[in-house]
């Protein structure tokens, strides 16, 4: 079977990449270069079935790291746990394929937190307490002003 790599869509796909997260399995066929850059590495030769169909699951050491929480892509692939909300951006390439495998979709449908409501004063207060804790007094002052304006309007 010859087909193009699902990532670069140029070279011939020669590696079947399998990711198992919480027991849910997703597969894709990549060329060797794309597989390595996506953080996959060859599984032990014992498990190799055919040359063109070997299973890879864990990842390469020199690879993507989330700049916010320092989680490495390989750690995520191993544990199935992301480190922080920013990981979704940092690993978006790999995640898109993984999510398609798990959910048969990679886009959210439905409501979001900003919908069905206006800016809430309690949320501003939360942000204010955070700003004070982090000693970001400029932000804190701005938030305090916003809260005052809303409270005045409400009264």
């Amino acid at each position: 079977m010859t087909s193009k790599c699902q990532s670069c869509k140029k070279k011939e796909a020669e590696i079947k990449c399998i990711v198992v997260i919480d027991g849910k399995r997703s597969e894709k066929y990549l060329c060797r270069d794309c597989a390595i850059s996506a953080g996959f590495e060859e599984q032990s030769k014992m498990n190799r079935r055919k040359t063109k169909d070997f299973v890879v699951s864990s990842a390469n050491k020199s690879e993507l790291v989330c700049p916010n929480c320092n989680l490495e892509l390989s750690q995520f692939l191993k544990t199935g746990r992301l480190g922080c909300p920013d990981c979704y951006k940092s690993f978006s390439g790999a995640l898109r394929d993984i999510l398609k495998g798990i959910h048969s979709a990679s886009y959210h449908r439905g409501r979001g937190p900003g919908e069905e409501r206006v800016i809430d004063i309690a949320q501003l207060k939360w942000k204010l307490s955070e700003a004070v804790r982090e000693e970001d007094f400029e932000l804190a002052a701005r938030l305090r002003d916003e809260i005052r304006v809303i409270e005045k309007d409400e009264n």
Binding site: I21, D22, K24, N68, C69, L71, G80, R81, L82, G83, C84, P85, Y88, K89, S92, L95, I98, L99, I102, H103, S104, A105, S106, Y107, H108, R109, G110, R111, G112, P113, G114, E116, R117, D120, A122, Q123, W126, K127, S129, E130, R133
Partner: protein, 340 residues
Amino acid sequence: MPTWLAEGGDDFEVALFTEAVYVRNLADRPFPGRLQSEDLGTTRRQLTEYLGNVLAEYRFIETDRLPNEEVSYLVERNSVSSEIIERKEGTGLFITDDESSWVSLNTSDHLRFRFAAGGSDVETVYRKARNLEEQLENILPFAFSERFGFLTARPTECGTGLFLRFTVHIPGILFSNNLPALRDSLLKAGSTIIPEVNPGISTEGHLFTVQTAHTLGIDEEEILEISQDMISELAEMEYHARDTLLSKAKYQIEDKILRGIGILTHARMIAEQEGYALANALRLGAAEGIASETLDLLAATELYLIGKPAHLIALGGKGNKLEMDTRRAELFRSYIKLEG
């Protein structure tokens, strides 16, 4: 037994209970698995402060201060998710007195909240869960992206971050070897079925968890539809299988159940595995009116819970295996109806 479960519900013969779970995280910090001890403590403190008003009806437990058997006790009765056993540090739990609702802090995600009701009751659990979700959304900045929806530590839960699940008793489907067919059919419809996990028991029991499988690419209404379809399909399949069994293998089934009654009424020691098998048989008997003069459906359901190790400890302290098995047999006997 938690009081909410003692009320039973629709299709209680098959569906023990229904749960709706939302998973939510704060936008401004790593998920709990990547937080240092100090930040876990800060996050818990802030969350308890902020949630205190909304959750005025709940009591709060610093779960990392609880001894292991008390945590196991909560896990056994579904009053906190089992992942708390992996890592207790910095975790917390808001829970109502009837235990039907709880909000856990700092397990895999900053917040997981669950609502439960006896039998099959998607509407009630979803309505209550959604109501709390909206209240919390108003006071907390949740991690959200346009593309991936609500962001969760496990990519299997991102998107709506909502799932519905049922704990079901399906001896009919198992005896008639229909589990593979059910599994395939549920998978196609967007849900999964897994055996209930019991650390002390090696053989597969008759209790399973059926859960909606997807959170991304479908909205909440579709998730509800899937869950309602899957429980009605499953219940129908189970009732049909039981009818067939009771007409074709009446004596084998009755024999199994009535032998169970014999053990229940006369055994002086019951091991954990035997207790579980007994609950499997007696619950089927109670549901189908076989020996129901000895044990009713609620009592038979309670046997599952009461026989678990942390529950036995909670009811009489720690002991060796002999003492535990004796206590289990004694407790089981106390559920026999006094007047036949």
